[in-house]
């Protein structure tokens, strides 16, 4: 039994890492499902969330920043959707890629000009520091709190998408945008809301990671690759696919870290290759149409 503890620790640890990917991947997946845009700037919103947290925490505390920072980023997302993304829903996907890639670079450079390229010091709030002990199992208290917040955010999003009128229109829009249009419902405001929710979630992940990883302009690039891997493995357009993929990716990382640490990151890509070979649309992938 004692031999199992380290393996279990690594698996739980992987799941926690997966929770960060999940918050970013859910937004990526929603924006792609409804708008057909692969948002390469998604990592930038995550970075902006982290920087806002650093700036705001001095004034309104970490808890305040946890709420306010994603809201501000959601408003930025609204502006970006309203004036930029909206023009590209019907365009060649490559144009959307170029646009969001450019946006990511502009955002990163702006952060660099405003805050400098060096990492900014930022620590875990006093109340959340320390470890949790369960027998031989020891873990960071802060990360367990993160896991809880992620679970709440995912649950909230799921309720929004399945139990509300808003969610019904969004899901219908993903399935058949033409039919939604024929019923006289414009998907445009829904798309704005989806982008706001998506980038808000990314910003929330940014705030949560700021105390434990370096806050620096390129942090968005670091994480977005894994978020994409999660989306691809889960299958575009599938809510539970992304959730399951984040968990599977996390556990794969954990198991690899236990048995062969050098392959911790590589194992995730290997998993993606295996999934794509057997299920090219991802684990829960659906056929996607985009709305006008």
């Amino acid at each position: 039994m004692p031999d199992l503890i380290p393996l279990l620790s690594q698996i739980l640890n992987g799941l926690l890492a997966g929770s960060y990917y999940l918050m970013i991947a859910l937004g990526l997946s929603m924006i792609f499902s409804l708008g057909g845009i692969v948002n390469l700037a998604h990592g930038a919103f995550y970075a902006i969330g982290a920087y806002l947290a650093v700036t705001l925490a001095d004034r309104i505390g970490f808890g305040g920043a946890l709420v306010v920072s994603p809201l501000i980023v959601a408003v930025i997302g609204m502006i970006v959707e309203r004036f930029l993304l909206r023009r590209f829903y019907t365009a060649d996907p490559i144009l959307g890629l170029l646009l969001t890639f450019g946006l990511a670079m502009v955002a990163e450079q702006t952060l660099r000009i405003l805050y400098g390229a060096a990492p900014i010091p930022f620590s875990i709030p006093q109340a959340l520091r320390g470890q949790v002990f369960l027998g031989d199992f020891v873990y960071s208290r802060y990360r367990l709190v993160t896991l809880g917040i992620t679970a709440l955010a995912v649950l909230g999003l799921w309720i929004l998408l399945t139990k509300t009128a808003f969610g019904k229109v969004v899901r219908a829009g993903v399935q058949n945008p033409d039919m939604v249009g024929a019923l006289g419902i414009s998907l445009k405001p829904y798309m704005t809301a989806v982008v706001m929710i998506g980038v808000g979630l990314a910003a929330l992940a940014g705030v949560l990671i700021a105390p434990i990883a370096g806050v620096h302009p390129a942090m968005g690039q670091e994480i977005i690759t894994f978020a994409f891997v999660v989306v691809v493995i889960g299958g575009l357009g599938s809510f539970w696919g992304v959730v399951a993929a984040a968990a599977i990716v996390g556990m794969t990382r954990g198991v690899a870290a236990h048995f062969y640490p050098a392959a911790t990151e590589a194992s995730v890509y290997l998993l993606m290759v295996l999934v794509l070979l057997t299920r090219p649309r991802g684990l829960f992938g659906e056929r996607i149409q985009k709305f006008e």
Binding site: N13, P119, S123, G130, R143, G214, H216, E222, A262
Partner: protein, 418 residues
């Protein structure tokens, strides 16, 4: 009507742009007509995990160039600095080639990534242009991959390991003790691990294990769990760039208390981790608390121009610029071969430390003092920068500067005929 206005406005914009372009093209020809400027190229990574350090490098190079020009240039000629970035080795090599062939630079300074420095070294050797490496640490660049036209103001990995190793031995963390390492998975990290293993083994340390860390990894938790399981006497880091910041923050988060030491380091990363997170003992080529008039002037000048504290990478690029300017003045020549010979004859340079430095002829490594810094307890920290205390210069004043450098047995350089 709207169509007409937009057309005429567009035409106006085009005309303005054209005029501006012509204006800027015309201007330099007039101002530099009398005495041709001495062009010096500077490339360094500005993005990615080394980007934060690259920004210091570029800012310091600009400060040095400005100071040189303010004091009358080099032999009465203006120094013109051309900055570029090097996100990866392929780009580094292509950009070095462009700076040499198109811009006709006299010397090239910069770089932090050992892999990119290696790519640049091949270009400068082919083009016969002087290159001063300001931030790449790999011993191999001074050994198996050494080049006649490449010099190193940045200390080599051996110097880093030996500088901090003395502190570790003093603290009883080497002989008969178990050390665990994390290593950045690229040229620099691999080289540093080899040098560290050699040093620790020679002094009776037992290597408990090593994990290779991808350079874009932000989450160290799997490795922290492994370290907790391994229970080493000391954790040694062969990491680079923002990896170090992330590690330090998460090490505290996971409540690990084994002593930490690093074999490679940059103070900006300690500042990024911040008070309460920064811990351990680390080697540096220079830091802002060094008490010499030169260092104080540099710190003041940098703070005035860039409104922040310079760190060790800034020091390397600042001093290299001054070293090249001084060498051109002393040899009265911009011929790279003449400057190479001047360096090899042991010309002395002020490096803002207590002793002057010189390039070692056999491998072109700058011989100089180094320092080991140790994190201060949180209670003693007064501001965001002064978060560590420093050892006296290593080697001590009565020792040869060579004692911390790689010996011929450890790392031998044979220059191919130039």
């Amino acid at each position: 009507m709207p169509l007409d206005t937009s057309l005429s406005r567009r035409t106006l914009i085009k005309a303005t742009a054209g005029a501006t372009a012509l204006g800027t093209l015309g201007a330099p020809a007039i101002s530099y007509a009398q005495a041709e400027a001495i062009k010096i190229g500077h490339i360094t990574p500005r993005t990615g995990f080394l980007g934060p350090l690259g920004e210091y490098a570029a800012q310091a190079a600009q400060l040095a160039a400005e100071e040189i020009n303010a004091s009358g240039g080099i032999m009465g000629r203006k120094l013109e600095l051309i900055l570029d970035d090097s996100p990866n080795p392929q780009q580094a090599s292509a950009k070095a080639e462009r700076l040499v062939q198109r811009d006709k630079i006299v010397a090239l300074l910069g770089e932090i990534s050992s892999a990119s420095a290696l790519a640049i070294a091949q270009v400068v050797q082919r083009e016969k242009v002087l290159f001063i490496n300001t931030g790449a640490n790999s011993d191999a660049l001074r050994g198996s991959d050494c080049q006649k036209f490449m010099f190193h103001i940045e200390a080599q990995n051996s110097m880093y390991v030996k500088a901090v190793g003395r502190s570790l031995i003093r603290d009883g963390l080497v002989t008969g003790k178990k050390w665990y390492s994390l290593t950045a998975d690229y040229a620099f990290g691999h080289d540093l691990l080899n040098v560290a293993k050699r040093y620790m083994a020679a002094n009776g340390g037992n290597h408990a294990g090593d994990d290779l860390i991808p350079t874009d990894l932000a989450d160290f938790s799997p490795f922290l769990l492994k370290i907790r399981q391994a229970r080493p006497d000391v954790v040694c880091l062969n990491l680079a760039g923002t990896q170090i910041t992330n590690f330090l923050k998460q090490y505290v988060e996971f409540g690990l208390t084994f002593p930490v030491a690093g074999f490679g380091f940059d103070t900006a990363l300690a500042w990024g981790a911040g008070k309460g997170n920064f811990g351990g003992t680390w080697p540096v080529v220079w830091h802002h608390l060094i008490d010499t008039p030169g260092s104080k002037a540099f710190v003041t000048g940098f703070q005035k121009k860039w409104n922040r504290m310079p760190e060790n990478q800034a020091w390397g690029d600042y001093c290299s610029m001054k070293v090249v300017a001084q060498a051109i003045t002393e040899t009265k020549s911009t011929d790279p071969m003449k400057i190479v010979e001047h360096f090899e004859k042991g010309a002395k340079f002020d490096l803002l430390k207590t002793r002057e430095g010189y390039f070692r002829a056999k491998d072109h490594q700058m011989m100089m003092e180094m320092y080991a810094i140790t994190a201060l307890p949180a209670a003693q920290i007064k501001n965001q920068y002064d978060i560590f205390s420093s050892s006296p210069p290593v080697p001590a004043a009565n020792e040869s500067l060579e004692v911390i450098a790689a010996t011929d047995d450890e790392n031998k350089c044979t220059f191919r005929s130039a």
